[in-house]
């Protein structure tokens, strides 16, 4: 049930705008103010904070792309619709 809702939400969000938002968000998170927050010599369970931030953030971003791309691929109609929208 939850899976279904997530899929629906993803499909609704699957617009050109979403990709732009992610792109901009990624850029913001890899630039000055955000980096400053994590730029501490602290460790969590022995792992440096900055290292965790990059690694986990990266994995999450790949997960997001994966979810969006697959939700788009499962719906041929949506895909067609988006094709027109993209271009």
């Amino acid at each position: 049930m939850l899976r279904h809702h997530v899929k629906q939400l993803l499909r609704r969000l699957n617009l050109q705008e979403s990709w732009v938002v992610f792109f901009v968000l990624g850029n913001v998170m890899l630039n000055f103010p955000f980096l400053k927050i994590f730029n501490q010599p602290t460790t969590i369970f022995g792992f440096p904070l900055m290292y965790l931030y990059f690694t986990i953030g990266w994995a999450v971003s790949i997960g997001v792309i994966y979810l969006f791309v697959t939700s788009r691929e499962t719906d041929p109609f949506e895909q067609q619709h988006d094709d027109q929208e993209q271009l």
């Binding site: 890899l30 000055f32 730029n39 460790t43 022995g46 440096p48 290292y51 790949i62 791309v69 271009l87």
Partner: protein, 1082 residues
């Protein structure tokens, strides 16, 4: 420890052999149509050519020296993947449509096929990629040195007397060049996909990943006790370094500028580096693959970077410092004594370098060939050996690219870290960014801006990065220390006094400032060229244009080019076979016949196709130049189509003026039904609205009659004689009639000798068109011919379309007029017929009246006899007849006759019979004698009229009560004796009148008594049919006579009418009914 050099070389060669096998197999599969490569996984792996020996060796070095910021080089591309759905897709679509073969092609295409721009991009790419290739050579050479222990760059070959000096770097450069030639320059068309090359690169990507992860696992879990252990040990042993490596340290006060620079550079590099553009765009098999690649490629980057940090930290722990950190990947397993892992690492590094060099050299050699060599070559007249020359030039270019890298490696290789060499290339590549993005999304961006921006950016890059890199070995040189000409403001690393930035950010800032600034300023100030504007429509308005299926050409060729000429041109560059194949495919796609002449409106599209095909081999800019010079050699050129309304059209849609002409035409057509007026006014309208000088309409009235000129309008009209110039056009007109296509000539000078038209040309006409007049699916009615004296190329697709629609309307009008005329005629005929019919009917009614009046209106009075005669005709006139003649007071003659048929003829014969009988009534002849006389008198008339008569003639004398009678084949009268039930038929021998000229009739006699009733009748009574088709019959008539015999004669006669009506259930008789009743009353 080290491994034996021969062993390492053998493994390396074996691995190379295996790569060839992979490539060969992929190519074989591709030829069979079962591509091994055409799927998103291989596509993603091929994009991973991004990970070179920089990643493989250099990342560890960077991680060990400056720390975590090495990740930004991979986070950038991963982030860019978010934009692939819109930017990359768009680039690929445009590239596929235009056979783009490199990034130089792509950018020069957008800015009006500019050769200068293409050359500039190529120059930047060649110089920019130089450090990058040097990096690969350095990495492999160093790793080879490490693993084999050969440090002096000479190899002692076994069996040789002395050490033979073989520079490993040079050997490697040679091997890599050969790699590139074999994989990438087998065939000329470079916009095609190289399946073998991609298969090899994808395979190498797998090896890279397996190798680096393998080394990572070995170091982390076999040399140490997991990553946690490494971190813990490191933190305790180097607490200060730990802190520095895991934070973005801010040397001086640069803030986060270095990290942002790194991010931006890597984001640009993933698409702008020539080899990345090649694998992402040129080698893309299907747009759908982008979706999966968007997460597969970042996953690859993530995995390959997972063990970089552990290896770096482990190296520092193991060696106690970060010297030689660039080669930890190979030196750590070697130091730990695990030769197989070390060999795996070596192969991984070799894969990383080889893959990069192969793709890069292919991409750059294509650019070199298309954008630097071709502009020179196209100035030479094409020769048969061109394809061979071109492919060998391309191979030469590959060697050139690799050896430029080798030269750079020899010059500065030892002084630079791997990563730093790579970043110089990144900075060169990012100079393409403004022109590329601007070209995709900004309409105003123009050629001047792109060239100026890129040139300035390139110069800044050269001055602030490449130049200083040559002097790193000699940091005290004057130019680095004091700047050019001793001007401190021009100090390369602190341009215009800008200090406090790292060298990358410094170079990025200045180059982008000049690049973007010049691009914007020039684009805003200077206008775009004609070709450029068209390309902008294709790049930016591309997808709107595509939706409009029928695009009206805005250009025409002033002199037509034939298909064989096009094929010959293509053949000179791509080989005759390829050219034939390409053209055949194109013709099939456009549904054109190769035998016939190409329709004029198809030519611009075909020209574009040829240009595109050439672009696939020689690049867009060169293809454009080749085409231009070819056309000008032929004396032809592309010119704007003549605007028939001589107004600027805002859109490609039908113009307001065309609409106006159509409206006027339909007004003319609807105003009148006179075809002549319609044609005259239509021609006058055409002459008035367009630059036409003569116009004719020829129409034929039916399909087997010749065409005749119906309307002729123009400046100097003269009678159409056989000598008239217009007659020359007859072949065109006949063709137009038959194939129902418009036939036109846009320039009379282009006519061949076979269809020369000297008179028409002498009249000064330069262009003309013949448009058939027909309705869809019907035969042509005629042809509209229009001639112009002034405009060459007047007949555009749009104008022909307009004229055709007008002739269509005219055909419709002609059809309506002829239909109206036919209807009119039909109506008149109908009226006439009705009139005739009515007259005949009235005549017949009169005839009926007359005929009825010929019958006795009442029977004569005679004592002792009651008589009644009746006649109910079926048609207006009939052949039935009865009559009475009173001879004296005691004797009466009565007769009943039936002339065959119900025609007027029968009625006339009946009248004749009556006349004859009346004439001879006074004769004392017996009934048989009368019949005899009648027969001989009527025989000829009856024979001629093909009629005959039946007649019963009787004579009754009241004095004697004797009835004598004779019968000429008539129905036998019925006698009902008083008081009896049955009837008696009166019979006498005798044949029908009119059969033979002379006949004998039997005469019989019978005595009648009081109360006897005699019925004379015609066949209408017994042969009256019921609804079932049964006849009434004699018996029923006889029965009725007996039953009703007590009635007076008149009533009895009428009762038979009722009998017949009852029996037939109808009030109108089927046949004439006549009867005579005779009753003996005394």
């Amino acid at each position: 420890m080290t491994l034996d050099i021969l062993y390492v070389a053998a493994v390396g060669i074996g691995y190379t052999g295996f790569l060839f096998l992979v490539a060969w197999y992929a190519r074989k599969r591709a030829n069979q149509g079962r591509s091994l490569v055409s799927n998103p996984y291989v596509y993603s792996l091929s994009i991973a050519v991004y990970c070179t020996s920089w990643t493989f060796y250099g990342s560890v070095g960077k991680a060990a020296t400056s720390g975590i910021d090495f990740l930004l080089i991979y986070l950038g591309p991963s982030l860019t993947a978010f934009s692939w759905f819109y930017i990359l897709r768009r680039i690929i679509r445009i590239s596929k449509d235009n056979n783009v073969s490199s990034i130089a092609d792509f950018i020069s295409l957008r800015y009006g096929n500019s050769q200068l721009l293409g050359s500039l991009v190529t120059l930047i790419a060649v110089l920019g990629v130089m450090p990058y290739i040097a990096l690969q050579i350095k990495a492999v050479v160093t790793s080879f040195t490490l693993i084999s222990g050969v440090t002096h760059r000479t190899i002692l070959l076994p069996g040789a007397d002395a050490a033979v000096s073989v520079p490993t770097g040079l050997t490697l450069a040679l091997i890599l060049s050969i790699f590139g030639v074999i994989f990438g320059a087998r065939r000329l068309p470079s916009a095609e996909r190289h399946e073998g090359l991609i298969a090899a690169v994808a395979f190498e990507s797998i090896i890279k990943l397996v190798s680096l992860v393998g080394v990572g696992i070995f170091v982390t879990w076999f040399m140490f006790d997991g990553f946690g252990d490494i971190l813990h040990q490191f933190q305790t042993r180097f607490p200060e370094l730990f802190e520095r490596l895991f934070t973005l340290h801010q040397e001086q006060d640069t803030g986060f500028i270095p990290s942002s620079t790194m991010l931006l550079l890597s984001m640009g590099a993933i698409i702008l580096l020539p080899r990345q553009f090649h694998v992402l765009v040129v080698e893309n098999a299907d747009l759908k693959h982008i979706g999966k690649a968007m997460w597969l490629f970042p996953t690859y980057l993530f995995l390959i970077n997972l063990f970089i940090m552990p290896i770096a930290l482990a190296g520092i722990l193991y060696y106690g410092g970060n010297t030689g950190a660039d080669y930890y990947v190979i030196s750590l397993p070697l130091s730990a004594g695990n030769s197989s892992i070390a060999l795996l690492a070596f192969l991984g590094g070799l894969s990383a370098a080889a893959g990069m060099v192969m793709i890069e050299s292919v991409a750059i050699s294509t650019m070199l060939l298309n954008n630097l060599f071709m502009p020179i070559i196209v100035r030479i007249t094409p020769k048969q050996w061109f394809p061979v020359l071109l492919i060998n030039l391309k191979r030469l270019a590959i060697f050139m690219v690799v050896f430029l890298g080798y030269f750079y490696y020899r010059t500065v290789g030892d002084t630079f870290m791997l990563v730093n060499m790579g970043l110089i290339s990144f900075l060169a590549a990012i100079q393409f960014l403004p022109a590329l993005l601007g070209g995709l999304y900004w309409q105003r961006g123009n050629k001047a801006g792109a060239i100026t921006g890129m040139l300035l950016g390139f110069l800044v890059w050269f001055y602030t990065l490449l130049l200083p890199s040559f002097f790193t070995a000699d940091p005290d040189s004057t130019i680095i220390q004091q700047g050019l000409f001793g001007q401190s403001l021009l100090k390369p690393t602190a341009l215009f006094g800008l200090t406090g930035m790292d060298m990358w950010s410094h170079a990025l800032f200045w180059s982008m400032l000049f690049n973007i600034g010049a691009y914007l300023v020039c684009s805003l100030i200077l206008p775009q060229g004609e070709v450029e504007k068209e390309q902008v429509r294709r790049f930016i308005g591309k997808f709107e244009v595509e939706r409009r299926k029928e695009k009206i050409e805005a250009k025409r060729l002033s002199k037509p080019v034939t298909i064989p000429q096009f094929i010959a041109l293509m053949g000179k560059f791509i080989g005759p076979g390829e050219a034939q194949k390409a053209m055949a495919g194109y013709l099939k796609e456009r549904h054109l016949e190769s035998q016939t002449l190409v329709p004029e409106f198809e030519l611009p599209a075909m020209k574009r196709f040829v240009e595109r095909t050439l672009a696939g081999s020689v690049g867009a800019a060169a293809a454009g130049a080749i085409m231009d010079s070819y056309l000008s050699d032929m004396g032809s050129r592309m010119e704007s189509v003549y605007d028939i309304f001589s107004t600027v059209r805002a859109s490609l849609d039908q113009s307001r003026e065309a609409l106006y002409v159509r409206l006027k035409a339909s007004e003319i057509i609807n105003r009148t039904l006179d075809l002549q007026t319609i044609m005259d006014e239509l021609l006058q309208l055409l002459l008035k609205e367009f630059k036409l000088d003569a116009a004719l309409i020829q129409i034929r009235s039916s399909s087997d009659e010749p065409l005749t000129v119906q309307s002729y309008q123009g400046t100097d009209r003269r009678p159409i004689t056989p000598e008239h110039w217009h007659q020359e056009n007859d072949p065109y007109i006949r063709m137009a009639m038959i194939d129902q296509e418009t036939h036109f000539v846009n320039d009379i000078k282009n006519l061949e000798d076979i269809i020369a038209m000297p008179k028409t040309a002498a009249e000064g006409f330069v262009s003309f068109a013949h448009i058939p007049i027909f309705r869809e699916g019907e035969e042509s009615l005629g042809v509209l011919s229009v001639y112009s004296r002034t405009i060459v190329g007047l007949f555009t697709e749009e104008f022909i379309g307009l004229l055709s629609s007008l002739t269509g309307q005219l055909a419709q009008a002609a059809r309506i007029v002829s239909e109206m005329q036919a209807k009119d005629r039909e109506r008149k005929e109908k009226e006439q017929a009705q009139l005739t019919n009515a007259r005949v009917k009235r005549d017949m009614e009169i005839a009926e009246q007359i005929q009825l009046s010929l019958l006795p209106d009442k029977p004569p009075e005679l004592f002792g006899v009651e008589l009644a005669g009746r006649c109910w005709p079926a048609a207006h006139v009939g052949g039935d007849y009865y009559d009475f003649f009173k001879r004296d007071d005691h004797t009466i003659d009565l007769l009943i006759a039936d002339v065959s048929g119900h025609s007027v003829g029968a009625a006339l014969i009946m009248a004749e019979v009556r006349t004859l009988l009346r004439a001879h009534a006074g004769n004392a002849a017996s009934p048989s004698g009368i019949l005899n006389t009648l027969n001989s008198m009527l025989y000829e008339d009856l024979t001629r009229a093909e009629l005959f008569i039946t007649m019963f003639y009787a004579r009754y004398s009241t004095a004697t009560g004797r009835l004598s009678y004779a019968n000429a084949g008539h129905n036998k009268p019925l006698l009902h004796r008083f008081g009896q039930q049955s009837c008696q038929e009166l019979d006498a021998e005798g044949m029908i009148l009119g059969i033979k000229p002379s006949m004998v009739f039997e005469e019989c006699a019978i005595n009648l008594k009081m109360g006897d009733t005699l019925l004379f009748y015609t066949d209408g009574i017994p042969e009256a049919a019921s609804t079932h088709g049964d006849f009434l019959g004699i018996d029923a008539v006889c029965q009725h006579l007996g039953d009703q015999s007590s009635l007076p004669a008149d009533a009895l006669a009428d009762s038979f009418h009722d009998l017949v009506n009852r029996y037939t259930s109808s009030s109108t008789p089927q046949d004439d009914i006549s009867l005579v009743v005779m009753k003996i009353v005394a």
